[in-house]
Symmetry: D2
Subunit: 276 residues, 4 copies
């Protein structure tokens, strides 16, 4: 078990009455237990807590009147990751997958796996099915992209990234997801907190459905999969934006942190990690 | 109540063992009751029936060995549409919508509402909120597009359609969905059967969330919303393809039909119709 | 006649031997006479002066060794613009245009007039041919776009701009060019200096072929067409980048200026101005 | 010397007065001599012959009234190709190229070499400069694309082709051009006739500027570079469409032929061929 302290502080200048949809709180799943959780708003405000779907995604919704609004979240998260030998993790057959998993084979806004299927098949179609194939895709993405903040925007897609070869965590994730779907592996986007991420921020990574479980991968290699705390999952970043605003507000401050309680993460070389 | 006889026949030349995912059977919802339903396969085969999500979407999955496979579906559907005066149907506030509806505000594969938001806001942002605004968007789509089969492909998106100004039902739906989302109205894609559709085929139309209900619109104006039988709903056509194949098979035949039992549809001029 | 003092200073940190292609010097045309011209390099360097094509475009080419390189250009330009009553300027027939003009009807890198032809025809196809139609296109572009630096990149095209509705001078020009070509008017991109441009910079505007002449338009409305000094013309910005580098160099400074010698420009309300 | 008989017959149903721009006649260059040339129109009509630019491109322009119009072209072409040992052909330095060649380094409508530069550099940046590098790019294009008519349209670009991996001669050419420009080699599109092309049609291939000359390559490998007869050159297919119509006309027939007079082409294994 790994215990992780997470938190984030957001400050907004709200200029008009504005609807906030927040997705910053840790999900509760069989492998991720959240305790000592506080979410405070200054000034105080009525907040609606919503559960979305069945994967633990949560959402806070509120209408904020003009003011300077500080939002502070803190929690302790106990992770009991399932760890497997990568070589033991095979792929699932499309004829055997749970039906609700099939939706993660479909193309989505930022992951045009339909367009990239030929490319994916040509590059990765001949590899042995299993954990190693997803790892090979993530390695390819990691070695062919350069991590350069500011080179992509909120509308950049996996195809764009494949051609321009630069991006940030969200772009790495979108390209890896598209290539996995392109060879028939259901794959989804995970937003979360990552221990020791530099520079600190919310993180975006991926989860591939292999051998009946969802396994974590970080195509950026900026964080250990043993220190990833889930906020939510979706088809791509469109589903798990940390804050969606309807109205007018400017973000003045964003601080995000995640620390392992015992100062480090278990040292397991390249394990297959599942927490969903 | 309207009673509709629907059905379709598909014939495939299957060349290798192929996984079929079929989405051709009518959904069961509080307003759509399905009876006398038969789904036959010739040659006979084991088929898995799956329920997907909570909107009535169904899926049949089977692995077909090389053969010529005929799939015939027939059902009687009783529609008890809720009919409202359009002028009574207002828009819902994002602060009040059920959380599960919010996902239909997100951009999706073929509906880049993020890219089209400025266009949508400029053209339709000043219109009075409500049923009439969605109707205005559908009218705009209808009058600015030309219905020309063969001008779009499986990867054509709403942005493409907005520029090229031609397409088929799926393209009309994607553009209308994107523009609605662009002005803040949750909107989704509906696949189904349509009474008297010419030429007969599966149909694609849309549903906008207004005043606490999902209301039907057909941007192509090729069918009455009182004669639309739902197969499934999704973010866009990526979610409700009538047949997804993994393997190798060629479609040899497709016949689709939908007839109102009493020979016609209730004549209600431009009503607001809800069946979900 | 209008006399204009123009100039610009560029400073580069050159890190490796780098080939520079400069396009910053004023063109010489029958209506634009350049005098007192100096182009100085500090440190001094061998520079090759090239004439490109037959429209007055010039190019300086040099190989710069690692150093800090200052490039200063100054010139006096006498403009003898041809000024017409807009209402007297009709369109040319494609059957009558000089053959070398026809190339400016073709789509180009940033001006996908083939994709935008339907849109252009629908919006502007019914307007009376002539200067007024190009003016209407420029007005449409001006009123539908918002001038926001940083919202577009070097690969942004007219289609992107039409959808996202923001951009800078280059983007305004590309969209206006595409819409003009879309209704059959040869149109090209002009790079240059503009009197009183705020903030000062190189400017991008357009030239449409009407009634046997090239007429100037500035879709941004940031500068008077009577104070535009031509550097070069091309199909779009790809042809007239002010500096193309092969090697490694970073721009440290860019200053651009253009002043009318007698302090102002002739006050002619919305004239049709031709200098090519 | 190779003597080639070329020709083509086009038949149009002209429904309204229509402007035709034809680009089907062989260019005259120092290495391509055209004789016994006939271009006949049935019914007879006034045709304007235009020379475009300085590369031998020609254009016929005429206004056709409603009728059924047959256009027949025939000519004898003597090719005196310059043939080099590929290993003797190096690349030119951008600092040394003739200025008019530099324009073929710019991105163009269907060849977004700016977008593809990173990809090109990564795949081909480390290869030895020279004829062999262009050959390697053409080989890559040939082996990664599948020749499938009907999978691309008039607006398909090199980026699209790189992702979808299918296309026809024009698409092969656009991708090869973009990749060459991406590594700094001026490259252009050539339209023409090709001996023994199957199925017979106008052909699209490319020319790269190496060692002071333009060398021919056919990325489709459907024709020998020794049997290519040039119609025209341009930045991409946008510049050399065989027929551009303004008005309304439908093509009823297209026949194209090209035969080597002595029944075959000189057998030179993979030579470096220059005719411009």
């Amino acid at each position: 078990m790994t215990q992780i302290q997470i938190g984030s502080k957001l400050v907004y200048e709200v200029r008009q009455p504005t609807i906030f949809l927040l997705k910053i709180t840790a999900a509760t799943t069989p492998h991720q237990v959240v305790s000592n959780e506080t979410l405070t708003f200054d000034p105080a405000i009525n907040v609606e807590n919503c559960q979305i779907g069945f994967d633990g995604n949560r959402l806070q919704r509120m209408v904020v009147q003009p003011c300077q609004m500080s939002i502070t979240y803190q929690a302790t998260v106990d992770l009991t990751s399932e760890i497997e030998q990568p070589s033991n993790v095979s792929e699932s057959q499309a004829s055997q997958m749970p039906p609700e998993v099939l939706t993660y084979m479909n193309p989505s806004r930022y992951c045009e796996s339909d367009v990239l299927a030929k490319f994916a098949f040509e590059e990765f179609g001949q590899l042995s099915p299993g954990f190693g194939r997803v790892q090979a895709i993530c390695d390819w993405v990691n070695s062919h992209l350069e991590y350069v903040p500011g080179t992509t925007t909120a509308t950049t897609t996996a195809s764009d990234v494949l051609l321009q070869r630069t991006g940030v965590c969200r772009d790495y994730a979108h390209l890896a997801i598209s290539l996995c779907r392109g060879v028939g592996i259901p794959t989804r986007y995970v937003s979360g907190y990552a221990v020791n991420l530099q520079p600190p921020d919310y993180h975006g990574f991926i989860e591939a459905f292999l051998d009946g479980h969802w396994y974590l991968f970080d195509p950026t290699r900026l964080a250990s999969t043993l220190g990833l705390v889930r906020i939510g999952v979706g088809r791509d970043a469109a589903d798990v934006a940390f804050c969606t605003l309807t109205g007018s507000a400017a973000m003045l401050e964003k601080n995000v942190w995640a620390k392992s309680s015992d100062g480090g993460l278990p040292s397991v070389p390249d394990p297959a990690v599942s927490t969903a």
